[in-house]
């Protein structure tokens, strides 16, 4: 439905988007994730035909946005970061105008029904006769969304649709977006990670204009786990570190919780090795009570940091082998 091929966008000497490629299939919600200034908005502006790419091309619903902008734009709804509202128009007038310039061929009656339908869908019908300039942030965002939906586009591009909303509005907006997924293909940008996990079927992570990862939120968390990490809770206050270190395949043990009734440990295992059974046996064998044993997944937050702070990661990787060797030595000595 959306195909971005080797997209590059430069502003003078500054490269905002650097050779970005990805595809969005029909009915998908693609999360476009990156820190501020990563090139999300630039990419979206090219996809929506707001500006031309410096290099590469974008095909929306079968139309190249650069060579057939009108056809592509007829099939794309766009909610920019700041909803493009005219402050002195009422919500109804504004949507009517949007309908006029996006679907010219409607009769007045058809246009009115369409405006009414969209207002209902985005829950702004109670503000229909209020001026856009006097709306609250949440309503503005939804009127902006209504504007993006007015021509029933196949593709929706939403630039940070939940930015600046309160938690309740965020949940509402997410539900709204999820509800739209069946009829529309959606690209949604955000720098808020849980949003991606909750709304999107696939994630593109972008940093400094480059794509650093494309996958489903689940796969990303799995794939990036690196070494498997387990969390173990042991009853009592007896130190279980040495018992855990003795388990084959365990690289490192850290005590994370100290409580009157239990101790919590994080166990780092060698990659692709399931040590859960052995860990359980070791704890029970040492005469301790096993209260909890679960694999820990990195949250998207951590993945995001890992991916977007490459330099630090490279340094950490360089330091890691020495550390591991030390641990192993300790383990054998112990």
């Amino acid at each position: 439905m959306i195909e971005v091929q080797h997209l590059t966008k430069r502003y003078g000497p500054f490269t905002a988007v650097n050779d970005v490629s990805f595809r969005v299939e029909k009915g998908e919600i693609l999360g476009f994730l990156g820190p501020n200034g990563a090139g999300k908005t630039s990419t979206m502006r090219v996809i929506t035909g707001y500006m031309p790419p410096t290099d590469g091309k974008v095909v929306v619903a079968g139309y190249d946005v650069f060579t057939h902008p009108i056809e592509a734009k007829k099939r794309t709804g766009y909610l920019p970061e700041t909803p493009p509202l005219y402050p002195d128009m009422t919500v109804r007038e504004y949507l009517n105008f949007a309908a006029r310039i996006k679907v010219g061929h409607l009769t007045t009656a058809d246009r009115n029904t369409r405006v009414a339908t969209v207002m209902k869908k985005t829950h702004v019908d109670d503000m229909a006769n209020r001026q856009c300039g006097k709306l609250s942030k949440g309503y503005r965002q939804r009127v902006g969304l209504a504007q993006a939906l007015i021509h029933e586009p196949e593709v929706l591009v939403l630039d940070e649709p939940t930015a600046g909303l309160d938690p309740k509005q965020i949940t509402e907006t997410r539900d709204l977006v999820r509800g739209l997924a069946g009829d529309h293909t959606i690209i949604l940008s955000t720098h808020i990670l849980p949003e991606v996990a909750q709304t999107c079927t696939r994630v593109v992570i972008i940093n400094k204009g480059k794509v650093v990862a494309v996958d489903t939120p689940d796969n990303l968390t799995h794939q990036l786990k690196g070494a498997a990490v387990l969390y173990v809770q042991v009853g009592g206050t007896h130190d279980a570190t040495s018992a855990l270190r003795g388990v084959p395949g365990v690289r490192d043990v850290r005590e994370t919780d100290r409580h009157q009734e239990y101790l919590g440990y994080e166990i780092e295992a060698e990659p692709n090795r399931d040590v859960r059974q052995d860990v359980a046996k070791a704890i029970v064998g040492a005469g301790l009570g096993l209260l909890e044993l679960r694999p820990m997944r990195l949250s998207l937050e951590e993945i995001f940091l890992q991916l977007t702070t490459e330099d630090q990661q490279a340094n950490a990787a360089a330091a890691a082998p020495a550390e591991t060797a030390a641990v192993n030595e300790e383990a054998t000595n112990g």
């Binding site: 005219y86 002195d88 310039i101 996006k102």
Partner: protein
């Protein structure tokens, strides 16, 4: 074609609405009416004196309301619009760029020329509204006198073309910035320059003098006030308008490329 017209109309209607939903339009119309009214009274007074003088055999034998009243009055109006039109055009693009609504227009299935012609038509409609106020004064002349309507009409045609050139230029200047005050001031300076450029023509040599006089946008207005519709002037104004709109189109397009 039908679709383009529909889009242009939609944008023009939106622009016109924006003028009239804010006090700007009313203030401009009021201001213009007051200033025009002042000149009207001054010229009417002069005209009445002149014609009375004529009766007593002191002045010229024939006094003509067209030549001694309407022509200088419309000449003054042509200077007045120089002050008023920057206020009409300054917000057209600058405000859309500042508030981000330009994103709606540029991502809607509209062609650049449709947006520009729509905005042009909207601003021209606003200008017509301002000119319409002067119709009140003119109708008084027609009720109690009998001016030649053809001359009046050609004078208005001249005003329309002159204003059309200013509006096209103002649209272009507004598209260069996202600050409407900057757009307004710059437009005013440019309009002023286009007006007084003819003065420099006086002191320049014969060749450059004629070039500068030709470029002066008000220089071409005079004949319209006399009731003469010369294709030379018609072509000057029409190409002036076309050039302004062309620049505006290019400016919006280049803005896009710069992002």
């Amino acid at each position: 074609m039908a679709e383009s017209l529909r889009n242009i109309r939609a944008i023009a209607a939106k622009e016109l609405r924006a003028y009239y939903s804010s006090p700007v339009a009313w203030v401009l119309m009021g201001l213009f009416a007051a200033l025009f009214g002042y000149f009207y009274i001054v010229y009417l007074d002069a005209f009445v004196r002149e014609s009375m003088g004529g009766q007593f055999g002191q002045g010229p034998q024939t006094v003509n309301v067209n030549m001694s009243m309407i022509r200088p009055l419309l000449g003054n109006a042509s200077i007045l619009i120089l002050f008023v039109l920057p206020m009409v055009t300054m917000r057209t693009y600058a405000e859309e760029k500042r508030s981000g609504t330009i994103e709606l227009l540029l991502t809607s299935p509209l062609k650049d020329f449709e947006i520009i012609l729509g905005k042009y038509a909207g601003a021209m409609a606003m200008y017509l509204g301002i000119l319409a106020v002067t119709g009140i004064y003119m109708s008084i002349l027609f009720i109690w006198g009998s001016p030649a309507w053809q001359t009046v009409l050609s004078g208005y045609l001249g005003l329309l073309l002159l204003g059309g050139g200013f509006v096209a230029t103002g649209l272009f200047i507004s598209s260069l910035t996202n600050n409407q005050m900057v757009a307004g001031t710059a437009s005013f300076v440019i309009f002023l320059l286009l007006w007084i450029i003819g003065w420099f023509g006086e002191s320049a040599g014969p060749f450059w003098g004629s070039v500068l006089r030709y470029l002066s946008i008000t220089e071409h207005f005079d004949d319209f006030g006399k009731g003469v519709i010369d294709t030379k002037h018609l072509i000057f104004y029409l190409s002036f308008i076309a050039f302004g709109l062309f620049l505006a189109t290019k400016s919006v397009d280049s803005d896009r490329w710069r992002g």
